[in-house]
């Protein structure tokens, strides 16, 4: 990655730094208001995250699905498509991954895992295609359709799960065979003992680089971004707008299914309803904070993973739910700081 130092990149760095700093400041203020010593909370958090292989592993483990889902969303966002439907898309894909993996449990992992992945990708991708087609054909904004589809998809999964596939009186599918489980880090490095961190973390890093390559180094990626920046110009330049919209939605939504790989094959061994816990929305914050740059997403996901696990680790001092508050604060600070930087720092370029 060549560091191209121009004003826009500087502006991005400035606004990200200010946002992160501001978020920390707000967090400190919250701690003070509720009568906790911020220093104590933060030192406990840092000690827990960086002091043990377990804590560090859990942080990476929590970051994994955020990297994956953040990358998927970044592709949509680059095309200026507001995919708010990741929550539904990733659940549908994961559910299918869980089912395929279960039914192929008897086969070698070389067969079972790729087939499960393809199945999951296609299902999530198709769910992404629906709002894309409605947008292209009917001119209906993807925002409302994706929000509505979240509810529809989750209800459908719930229906199929409870009525057909779930283990009795649970909300999860049957467990897949151990033979197709993905190795944990602790299998190789004892220091990670107890942590659920698994090889999917490596996969997610590779995915982030691949997404970076796709968005910034391939022609299709350029076309996606061109459409996102300026649809009219893209039309006159000769880019097929509709095709690009469909493609970004398919790939972007499809990628979100990979979070199932982490949860099912890397952790629990089954699909469980509600496992995502608003991951599809948190990932919006992750992508936003990273300005939709997949490499940046690795870092912003790590930050969120840190908050997530760190929150757990200081639960005795501050309820871990504080992290949900901080997530909201991050989005709102980055949005507002961005606008202010645009207005006051980039002003020379802005009206050109």
């Amino acid at each position: 990655m060549v560091l191209q130092v121009n004003k826009k990149i500087k502006a991005n760095i400035i606004s990200i730094s200010i946002s992160v700093a501001l978020t920390f400041l707000i967090t400190i203020i919250i701690f003070l208001i509720i009568g906790k010593n911020p220093l104590e909370v933060f030192s406990m958090m840092f000690a827990d995250v960086f002091g043990s292989g377990y804590g560090f592993g859990q942080t990476l483990f929590k970051a994994t699905p955020l990297i994956i889902c953040g990358c998927g969303l970044a592709i949509c966002f680059h095309a200026s498509l507001f995919n708010i439907g990741a929550e539904g898309q990733l659940n549908a894909g994961s559910f299918v991954i869980g089912l395929i993996a279960y039914y192929l449990s008897g086969y070698s992992f070389l067969i079972a895992i790729p087939l499960a992945l393809i199945g999951g990708f296609v299902i999530s991708g198709l769910l992404g295609l629906i709002p894309a087609i409605i947008k292209v054909k009917k001119g209906v904004s993807e925002v409302i359709t994706t929000i509505m589809m979240n509810f529809i998809v989750l209800a459908l999964i719930n229906f199929f799960l409870i009525d057909f596939f779930a283990v009795k009186s649970t909300v999860h599918t049957e467990k897949i065979s151990d033979a197709i489980m993905i190795p944990k880090f602790s299998d190789f490095f004892p220091m990670f003992r107890g942590s659920s961190l698994n090889l999917v973390f490596i996969v997610s890093i590779i995915l982030a680089f691949a997404t970076y390559y796709f968005i910034y180094k391939t022609k299709i990626g350029y076309e996606i971004r061109a459409v996102g920046y300026n649809e009219t110009a893209s039309k006159y330049i000769g880019i097929k707008i509709n095709k690009t919209i469909l493609l970004s939605f398919f790939i972007g939504a499809g990628l979100t299914s990979l979070v199932g790989l982490n949860f099912i094959m890397g952790y629990k061994g089954y699909y469980e309803f509600g496992f995502s816990n608003n991951l599809g929305f948190t990932a919006i914050a992750v992508a936003l904070l990273a300005k939709n740059n997949p490499i940046g997403i690795i870092f912003s996901a790590l930050l969120f993973g840190f908050l997530d696990y760190g929150g757990l680790s200081v639960n005795t001092l501050v309820p871990k739910e504080i992290m949900f508050v901080i997530q909201g604060v991050v989005i709102l600070t980055i949005l507002s700081v961005d606008k202010l930087v645009e207005k006051y720092y980039l002003k020379n370029n802005y009206w050109n």
Partner: protein, 302 residues
């Protein structure tokens, strides 16, 4: 047979009306905002924060009226903040809405754990006072004597009147349709957008407050997407209070039916009934069921 007799009972009607109330309040909230050209998906968050606010202020003051007023103030405060983001800073309304929803849901989760050491709900508290003499009417007394329910019915006329019969409504709608035209005639576009968002915050807060008051406690996830259903009802209702009224009644009917189905235990899966509002909304948007058109400048920062 049992089901049919249940549906035509007054208890069922009362149930429908109770479910209808937060939807209609939320949908009118959404409508005032969108009529001024601001897409506000943070209604979900406004309902959460006001339900929580009512719970907290009622518990700590011991007075439901103080709880009510404080919760309204809280929601209005957040709507001012939202307006700062989307009207003043012209931030993308959808992303800001997602952010506000995450923040407000997070605040609720955090505060109930922090204050009550419970991950799910607050202690019980009193509900809002009723109109005493109506309370004793059989079956539907509880509905008839509820101020907010009655207000939500009155809202059918109030909204219609404000939007279509007053100067304020005309100007509010003009900035949602064509802010340039409005401005060329001297209308303060951003001020009217602020009005729209703040009215939205106020009405949404009543929805949240009512839910908390009705349940006598606040629990995590109690709003359960009602803000989004309200938006769906507004879309199906084509941004018109009368049609929205019908859409909300329909959604409430389906939900009441689902509850009855669960009790009687029939073969119709409850999830399918649950997803109907959303499915219908998409079908309406595609144009399968009637034609629908948002305000022309809806969602576009000015």
């Amino acid at each position: 047979m049992e089901l049919i007799s249940q549906i035509i009972s007054l208890t069922f009607l009362a149930q429908v009306l109770r479910l209808f109330t937060p939807y209609y309040l939320g949908a009118n909230a959404a409508n005032f905002s969108e009529r001024s050209g601001v897409v506000n998906i943070a209604i979900e968050g406004f309902m959460i924060i006001s339900a929580l606010g009512y719970a907290l202020f009622t518990i700590f003051s011991g007075n439901a009226i103080i709880g009510l007023l404080s919760a309204i103030a809280l929601s209005v405060l957040f709507s001012f903040l939202f307006a700062l983001f989307v009207v003043k800073l012209k931030i993308n309304q959808i992303v800001a809405g997602v952010g506000f929803n995450l923040l407000m849901a997070g605040l609720a989760k955090f505060l109930i754990v922090f204050l009550f050491q419970s991950s799910s709900n607050t202690p019980r508290f009193e509900s809002l006072p009723n109109i005493p003499f109506l309370f004793d009417v059989p079956f539907i007394g509880k509905v008839l004597s509820d101020y907010i329910i009655l207000f939500s019915f009155a809202l059918l006329f109030i909204s219609n009147f404000i939007l279509f019969k007053t100067k304020f409504g005309l100007r509010l709608r003009s900035v949602g349709e064509n802010p340039e035209a409005g401005e060329s005639l001297g209308i303060k576009v951003r001020l009217y957008k602020l009005y729209g968002v703040v009215i939205c915050g106020f009405l949404a807060s009543l929805g949240g407050i009512w839910l908390a008051s009705n349940q006598n406690s606040f629990s995590d996830g109690m709003i359960a997407g009602r803000g989004y259903i309200a938006i769906a009802a507004m879309i199906i209702g084509k941004w018109k209070p009368v049609n929205i009224f019908i859409a909300c009644l329909m959604f409430a009917f389906f939900e009441a039916l689902e509850i009855s189905l669960q009790i009687t235990g029939t073969f119709i899966p409850s999830q399918i009934v649950q997803m109907l509002p959303y499915l219908i909304t998409i079908l309406v948007l595609i144009g399968f069921i009637g034609k629908t058109k948002p305000p022309a400048a809806d969602g576009i920062p000015y």
